[in-house]
């Protein structure tokens, strides 16, 4: 197990390094951040000064070299736009995104799994058919549109929930959290539902497929024959066996929720990392883009590791070994 983790971490370090090279050279090809930054009226002298202050007067390979050296010291460069360390700016926005992603993941689990089990156990019922058709909508409607529609209905027309923003936060261990206040909860509800929509549908479908497959297998029949209660058969024997694909997918999707909640964060003006990255891309704030992608690579690496460990807990047949592949 330890060897496995060490090997995985070393692989990850390599991935991070390659990523840094690709991203750094990639963002350096596109556009001219100085043109985006300076005021129209600035003359050439002023432009040259800005170029120098952002270190863009050096050739790109020198810039990359400096970046790597500084990165080892934990400095991913200063944001072109804000002038503050890129890492610090991203970390400031992190709690908002993690909070949103976690709440939405939680929603998709508590809504998706029961509905999926229901639809799997009673596929012929009308209610199951409604659930399954509904899940197609969850897949196919663009989240930008759904988000705006939810704002129109629940905020503008009904006035039940606030339309945008994050609401009141409380500080816990130095981190600002909003889901612990009533106001914060009312703010997080719509964006979380919007973000959860796709994953809920995914969970429903995966769970249903798993249940449909498992209910006919011998161990379920045996459990029933043994006289176990229906609840125990479903909650223990069935659930444990259908969870593997669900956890794999949710693990990967969680990374996606964190990294690419861009659309939801933009629509709901949620002050998270997704909104930050899209602004950074538009204004060519290269250090932010590079630092962000570095962090996202790390997040994915960690999530995959956690998923692998969860496997072994759920399914005793899967033992983490020093996998050669």
């Amino acid at each position: 197990m330890t060897v496995f983790i060490i090997r995985r971490l070393m692989q990850s370090a390599l991935v991070v390094l390659v990523m840094s090279f690709l991203v750094f050279t990639g963002v350096n090809i596109v556009g001219d951040p100085v043109e985006m930054m300076v005021s129209d009226e600035a003359d050439q002298e002023e432009r040259d000064r800005v170029i120098k202050s952002m270190g863009l007067d050096k050739p790109w390979y020198t810039q990359y070299g400096l970046f790597v050296v500084n990165a080892f010291k934990g400095d991913l460069g200063n944001s072109f736009v804000y002038g503050e360390p890129a890492l610090q700016i991203i970390v400031e926005r992190m709690p908002a995104t993690f909070e949103l992603a976690l709440v939405s993941l939680f929603m998709s689990i508590i809504i998706g799994i029961p509905l999926g089990v229901w639809a799997g156990l009673f596929p012929e019922k009308l209610s199951s058919k409604i659930v399954m058709s509904g899940s197609i909508l969850g897949f196919s409607l663009p989240s930008f549109w759904v988000g705006l529609m939810m704002i129109m209905v629940f905020a503008v027309m009904l006035g039940w929930l606030p339309s945008t923003g994050r609401g009141d936060t409380v500080e816990i261990l130095g981190i600002n959290l909003s889901f612990l206040t009533a106001d914060g909860l009312s703010h997080i509800f719509l964006p979380a539902v919007n973000l959860a929509l796709f994953n809920t549908s995914l969970v429903i479908r995966l769970t249903r497929a798993g249940v449909r497959e498992a209910v006919h297998q011998d161990y379920i029949k045996f459990a029933r024959a043994k006289g176990l209660s229906n609840t125990r058969v479903i909650m223990v024997h069935l659930m444990k066996n259908i969870m593997i694909p669900v956890i794999t997918v949710l693990g990967l999707e969680f990374g996606g929720l964190i990294a690419f909640s861009v659309v939801t964060e933009t629509v709901f003006a949620w002050p998270g990392m997704g909104k930050l990255i899209i602004d950074a891309i538009q204004s060519l704030d290269r250090p932010i883009v590079v630092a962000y992608l570095m962090i996202i690579v790390l997040v994915f690496v960690v999530i995959n590791l956690v998923v692998d460990i969860l496997y072994s807990i759920l399914d005793p047949r899967v033992r983490i070994q020093d996998v050669k592949s």
Binding site: E41, Q44, V50, A155, W160, T164, D183, A269, Q282
Partner: protein, 532 residues
């Protein structure tokens, strides 16, 4: 229902809040802004979104009113005491937010700090030291500024620079402003807290030296997505928004719950054509063979101007929300030409001019433009391409994100001209008079003198340069206005150095009962929002 609370409370407290009248919040103004400042430091980034926030917290020696006319600020009066010296009398009894006195030392400190900001993304050096300005403290409430040559734009230049307190010390930069420690000004509002991307809270400064604004608290939320910003207003989460998208305006005007304010801006949208290279990129004969640059012929430029139906663009593309342009600034601004009118739509005349210029069958070209910079920019480019194709100039519109576009459209003088031959761009005159666009867009490129920095078509006319040079050295306002008008008439009227299309009109929307005084500088200020 949604209640504003400053303290974190549980559900129980939230329920009791329902029964309480929220009278206190009546004095709070919540604004949804389409843009966000990059810093609170007023000298960090000379950019619209930053300057509009800075104007809440800081004051300037000379202020600009909603039409960008100069009005007394921290200076009560100013005059040229001789050809090369301006004297500013400072306001007495003004106190900074921290209680310290404002005097000449703060001005001297500001003028030293602003151009020397090491991290500035776009500094104010052009304004604080352009023309070789030197500052001298005469007494605590008198400042003299000298320049080697006569410098008429003194007050205009200084109306862009926000005054900070000298007590913040020599090495205090944007970080200390962003966290609020050094954000000490003399403006109408005090900074309470800025959480990037989330909220900027301001509180009224009771010791403000001029008319106090009506709102005791202001909360500014950045909501970049236009439909979301509008939804936030409709849902009552914010009281007031800026940059209302043109497609929604006609519908919103009928909404009884809202009140809209509109005003022309100082931003002109125009076309720039390559007037320098012998062979223009992307421009060929209709069969694809190489031709010499047709845009160098003034008749072709005139033909293009005549072929554009500005009324149609404003009516269909801009939904009526724009004013057609014939020069650099709309009516009411200083130094405007009374003679120049927007070119009338005349396709027959345009065809005739093309034939005279030797292109009876027209030619092929590409119109490049941004698609996320100006109001409806991509649609304007498409409309113009169609109109030009009608007179025989087969034009393909090619628009791209501004982050890509402005690098490729960057012109670094005759040795490194831009990649394109025919571009759509815009220009906002921060100073509220035409000398800045004349210097940047139409004057002959000269790096040393800082001229022609955005002259993407490399227009050059020595006569215009001379008139402009004279204007920039004429202190007498009436004479200068005349010279600026003359330079515009040469650069645009005679040379068609650029083809002006229209002036942008900005729209703000507020909930019923509030009204905003539209500003030509496009700024959104809490001070301008009043109850009807």
């Amino acid at each position: 229902m949604y209640f504003k609370k400053t303290l974190a409370v549980g559900a129980l407290a939230a329920m009791t809040a329902i029964t309480l009248p929220l009278s206190a919040s009546a004095e709070t103004l919540t604004i949804g802004l389409g843009s966000e400042p990059t810093s609170i430091d007023p000298h960090y980034h000379n950019l619209g979104p930053n300057n509009q926030i800075a104007q809440h917290i800081f004051s300037r020696l000379v202020e600009q009113d909603e039409k960008q006319r100069l009005t007394p600020g921290l200076a009560t009066s100013w005059e040229a005491i001789n050809e090369t010296t301006w004297e500013f009398k400072l306001r007495k009894g003004v106190k900074f937010h921290d209680g310290s006195d404002f005097n000449a030392d703060d001005v001297i400190f500001t003028m030293k700090r602003a151009p020397a900001h090491p991290n500035a993304r776009s500094s104010f050096k052009l304004y604080t030291h352009g023309g070789g300005k030197e500052y001298k403290k005469i007494d605590d409430y008198t400042i003299q500024v000298t320049t080697p040559r006569p410098y008429p734009l003194m007050a205009t230049d200084l109306s862009t620079v926000h005054i900070v307190s000298n007590e913040i010390g020599d090495a205090t930069w944007e970080g200390e402003f962003n966290n609020g420690n050094a954000a000490i000004g003399t403006g109408p509002y005090k900074l309470v807290k800025w959480t990037k991307g989330e909220i900027l809270s301001l509180e009224r400064y009771e010791g403000y030296h001029a008319d106090k604004p009506m709102w005791t608290k202001v909360e500014i939320k950045p909501i970049k997505s236009a439909p979301s910003r509008l939804a936030a207003l409709l849902a009552g989460d914010v009281d007031f928004i800026d940059s209302v998208p043109t497609v929604d305006i006609s519908r919103l005007k009928k909404d009884p719950k809202l009140s809209l304010s509109q005003g022309v801006s100082n931003r002109v949208i125009y076309l720039h054509l390559d007037q320098f290279r012998d062979v223009a990129p992307f421009t060929t004969a209709k069969d694809g063979s190489e031709i010499k640059n047709p845009f160098k012929d003034v008749r072709v430029r005139q033909a293009i101007s005549k072929a554009i139906n500005r009324d149609l663009i404003i009516d269909r593309v801009m939904e009526g929300v724009a004013i057609k342009a014939g020069q650099l600034l709309p009516e009411g601004f200083f130094g405007r030409s009374a003679k120049l009118k927007p070119e009338a739509y005349d396709p027959e005349g345009a065809k005739k001019l093309l034939a005279e210029a030797g292109y009876p069958d027209g030619f092929k070209t590409v119109l490049h433009g941004p698609n996320d910079r100006y109001i409806n920019d991509a649609k304007i480019a498409e409309a113009i391409a169609q109109m030009l194709s009608r007179i025989g100039i087969d034009t393909t519109p090619d628009t791209m994100p501004k982050s890509v576009y402005f690098k490729r459209a960057k012109n670094k003088g005759p040795t490194a001209p831009q990649e394109f031959a025919f571009v759509l761009v815009g220009w906002g005159s921060g100073t509220g008079e035409p000398s800045s666009p004349l210097k940047s867009l139409l004057a002959t490129y000269d790096k040393e003198k800082g001229l022609g920095s955005s002259n993407r078509g490399l227009h050059s006319n020595l006569e215009m340069d001379k008139v402009l040079g004279d204007a920039l050295a004429t202190v007498d306002d009436a004479k200068r206005a005349e010279l600026l008008a003359k330079a515009t008439e040469i650069g645009i009227g005679q040379d068609v150095g650029i083809i002006p299309l229209h002036y942008q009109v900005n729209t703000w929307a507020a909930k019923k009962g509030l009204k905003y005084t539209a500003r030509t500088d496009e700024r959104t200020l809490a001070m301008g929002v009043e109850k009807e």
